[in-house]
């Protein structure tokens, strides 16, 4: 067993467990995106950052891949962590604003603006589908391809894979392509619907165009009541 301190609370966890597991055991919430129980952690999205160490030597690590060490001091929501986390969400919003998962994260963490050049990607390269395909479906039909800005996920040579069984597991775990939130103005990156008591979309005239799937989205709930 390994003794470590999380947010001042000391706990002991089994050897080999990660900071994320230890923090969840204690009930400290750490947001995750590329992490999925049952798949090997990959530390791709960096959303689960926590601060370890003290003073000048404190640094940010991804809690899903960092193994618990004896005497480790972890802070899961220090100012530095919250700032980094918001920045990560903002960057995710910049590349993939139409994902419900990311919009929910933005609302939950108080991200109200997006200051970067807006892109409309279908994929945030979190690799959930790749790991799902390989580890749970034992197929490895899809994988990462290329590098840098040309990195993408897909089948080799972009043709249907011989080993794909069309199970749909990749779609099931995808945080970017499930339930897109488009709001009434898709070019506005941050919806923020569920974080506002007075949702901005209700005041619009094109109410019938409302396509916000946020759950629980105030705007959507009101529409249901009427």
């Amino acid at each position: 067993m390994i003794q470590l301190t999380i947010n001042g609370l000391s706990t002991s966890v089994e050897e080999g467990s990660t900071i994320l597991e230890a923090a969840r055991f204690l009930g400290f919430p750490i947001p995750t995106l590329c992490h999925l129980d049952g798949l090997t952690p990959s530390g791709n999205c960096r959303l689960c950052v926590v601060e370890i160490g003290e003073g000048e030597r404190a640094r940010l690590v991804s809690s899903c891949t960092y193994r618990a060490e004896p005497g480790l001091k972890v802070r899961t929501s220090s100012e530095r962590v919250v700032k980094a986390r918001r920045m990560i969400i903002e960057l995710l919003l910049a590349s993939c604003p139409q994902s419900k998962v990311i919009q929910d994260l933005a609302s939950a963490h108080g991200v109200r603006r997006q200051r970067f050049r807006q892109e409309y990607e279908d994929c945030i390269l979190c690799g959930r589908c790749v790991r799902m395909c390989e580890e749970q479906m034992m197929a490895k039909a899809i994988g990462f391809r290329g590098r840098g800005e040309r990195r993408s996920i897909g089948t080799p040579f972009d043709v249907q894979s011989d080993v794909c069984r069309l199970c749909g597991g990749c779609l099931y775990v995808c945080p970017a392509c499930q339930l897109r939130c488009t709001y009434t103005e898709p070019e506005k990156a941050v919806c923020g619907g569920c974080a506002n008591i007075a949702p901005p979309c209700i005041e619009k005239e094109q109410f019938s165009d409302l396509m916000c799937y946020m759950d629980p989205c105030v705007a959507c709930e009101i529409q249901k009541d009427q």
Binding site: V130, E134, K140, A141, I142, G143, F144, R145, G146, R147, T155, P156, F157, S161, D162, V163
Partner: protein, 289 residues
Amino acid sequence: MNNKQLDSIIDKYHDQPGGLIGLLEETQGLLGYLPEYVLRAISEKTGRPLADVYGVATFYRAFSLKPRGRHLALICLGTACHVRGAPRIVEEFEKHLGVKAGETTKDKEFTVETVNCLGACALGPTVVVDGRYYSHVSRRKVREIIAQTKRGQETGDPAADRRLVPMEASCPACGQSLMDGKHPTEGRPSISLEFLSDGGGGRLHLSSLYGSPVAEWEPAPPPSSPVSAVVLCCPHCGKEFESRSLCAECGADMALLRIHGGFHLEICTVPACRGRLLSLIPTPAEKRT
């Protein structure tokens, strides 16, 4: 490439962890690029998922899934080269060869590619053509580089070419050194031999850099002999160098010299021919039947 060749390469790397890169490298060395059927065959034979093989092949810039030309020009676009004008070098290459970066000319002679850093930032802008580095490349130099590559790179400056290997030759019969410091060629002692032809005899000074075509005849061989073979012999013991094989270029006898380190150098006995062969597998002369 046939299946046997691929099988032997796969066997070589099969047990090594991380052997996939070496395997792909060697396969590309044979074919010049990695066609789809080869990647599929590698995946099938090694048992690795095709997605993995494809992922590695597309990740590294060294691998190409498209056929490349006979010559490969890599233009560095790293930060240091970029600020020193590498994008203009790319433009110049594109203009002279009529292709965009990443493409191959129609005659399959040249492929132009950009790379992100070659690690030779102090020499920038850097261009590598067929493994040869050109430093401080200017727009003007681009034309020279292309011309030189088309001409064949052995005509380049031998002192600057690190790929030319200096050799120490000796006579296989008497074992005495053939190196002649009194008659240097290309700044190094030459390999000095005696030659006999119908018009008389003289000295032949070969460059001791392997790959260099420099050969000085003293006196010049008679006009009849550039096409007919001469007799090459050792200046110390006077014995004719034996011939173990025929020149691949003209079919004449090759004279066999011993090279320091247990290798053999075979040179064509026809003065006009530039047939040279460095045998890297040490084969004892006695084995000849």
